[in-house]
Amino acid sequence: MTKAISLKKCLFSYDKNTKLVINIDQLDIETGEKVFLYGPSGHGKSTLLNLTAGVLKANSGSVEVLGQELTKISQSKRDHLRGEKIGYIFQIFNLIPYLTVKENIVLPCMINKKRSDDDFHKQAEELIDSLGLREYIDKKVTDLSIGQQQRVAAARALIGNPQMIIADEPTSALDEKNTREFMELLMNVWEKKKFTLIFVSHDERLKSYFSRSISLPEINHHD
């Protein structure tokens, strides 16, 4: 199996002079792996995800994602890579407030040609159904509850067959039943598509869904 993600001697700080947030010697994630990432709040989980998705750029070291060395390409190339190949569920959901549920979900397909291959409207409808959002399909996302918005964000990440899904606490606002349903859906889709999945959560009970779990404090030596 080839590596989907490979970090080496990766350093990152938000400000050049402040303390390091990320200091990882080596982290490799294989293509198609399901990885569970956990650690205490404020330890740098979201920061690490942003580095791998190309939202942030490492100060030094190498960050190789889906065959591209992110530290060596421009911001727009990183945006492009993320748009085409990565579905990112942000911790704050980052939905566009004036668009409806459906419009938000199909947005990645409208922006990236590569993700609009199949009939993405049909795919969107399927996702909407399986996430129980049918009755909200034409509502503005601001009219939805936080848990519902989280599901919209998940659908937006899953649409268009991305090679990698990065999920930053996608279940933090869901109740137990919805969490279970959400995880089952995610695993179902994974069974079909076998994308690389990196999943961050506080909730260590979710570990059992994944093939590997990584404790961030064990690999990140930022102090």
Partner: protein
Amino acid sequence: MINFLTYKSISNRKFTSFLCVLSIALSVTLFLGIERIRNGARDGFTNTISKTDLIVGAKGGPLNLLLYTVFHIGGAVNNIKMKTYEEIKKNHQVEWTIPISLGDAYRGFRVVATDENFYEHYRFRGDRSVEMSEGRIPNDTFDVVIGSVVAKKFNHKVGDPIIISHGISAQAILSHDNTPFKIIGIMKPTSTPLDTGVYITLQGMEAIHFGWETGVPNGEKINPERFKKENIQISQLTSFMVKLKSRIAVLRMRRDIDNYMDEPIMAIIPALSLQEMWETIGYVEQILFLVSLCVLLVGVLSILISLYTSINERRREMAILRSLGASSRHIFFLLIYESSFLVLAGCILGVVSMYGLLFFVRPWLESNFSVYLPIEALSSTEWIYLGLIFVVGTLAGLIPAIKAYMNSLQDGLTIKI
């Protein structure tokens, strides 16, 4: 994609977008409106008289000749002989002439003696001619036609008798009591000096001075036979207007008149003189132009401000689009597209409301300020102005777009909801 997002985004911010369009429209309206008024004021002035190629009068100041012949201001030092007029009129280059004889007044308004050529050939504002709102043109010795302002001021009707005073001052001591005139026509308003004239025939002008040869009435009774039109000889004129068959001949004709042997006379080209005169009083125009430039500047600034604030509101939105893979170029076009759409809508609304405004203020401006504003299609200069406004407005939208382009992605994504 861009169409869809722009449409959605603008309709989400209907009110602020509308305000933005409104402020652009307002500056466009003001700018074009002031420009039209500025041009209208100049055209109104320089077209006080049109079609006439030359005005001929006794040698003296050219401006003076223009003022007393066209604007009824001041007076001539000398008259010119009828013989001179007849001779020039006969010149084969001449298409028509309008004789003018001045010197008397009616309650402060100038009496202008002329003949039927005046009613037939006199033109102003391009091709408008003298028209009667009531009655007909003077024919008999004691017929008089009055301008609309005169009629309004004294509430005169057709059929009213009037007494003309001797000399041109309003507080005339001597008047032509024994030769009363009868109003037989009232002119339509023109917003030119025509409105303040009292028009009689050349014969009428001669007739009221019978027995005045010494400058005061000698009290003799005059035989009514002498007042018959066909019995009156015209001996002199104050000035006259000339139209030539070909414009090419104008300069040559003017030189010939200036060198006329039998009498010291001169000719002016009214269009040129009016233009010169406007330039000397034209600082008003320059001030108006400055004002319209300021309006434009404020307009562009307001475009900049409203686009800038809207971009600031939308930083997060832009960041989300980028997080989904939209390139900076995408975002840039999105913003430029939106700003040019807003500016375009503003320009269109501005032009429409300019015409609306023009329609309402036109009669008022024309009658009160002699500003002549025809409702015409946009001139090529105005198209250029609009084009410039569009480009400048879109460029103004570029500044916030560049800023959005430079904003780091993280910046937009970490703003908390």
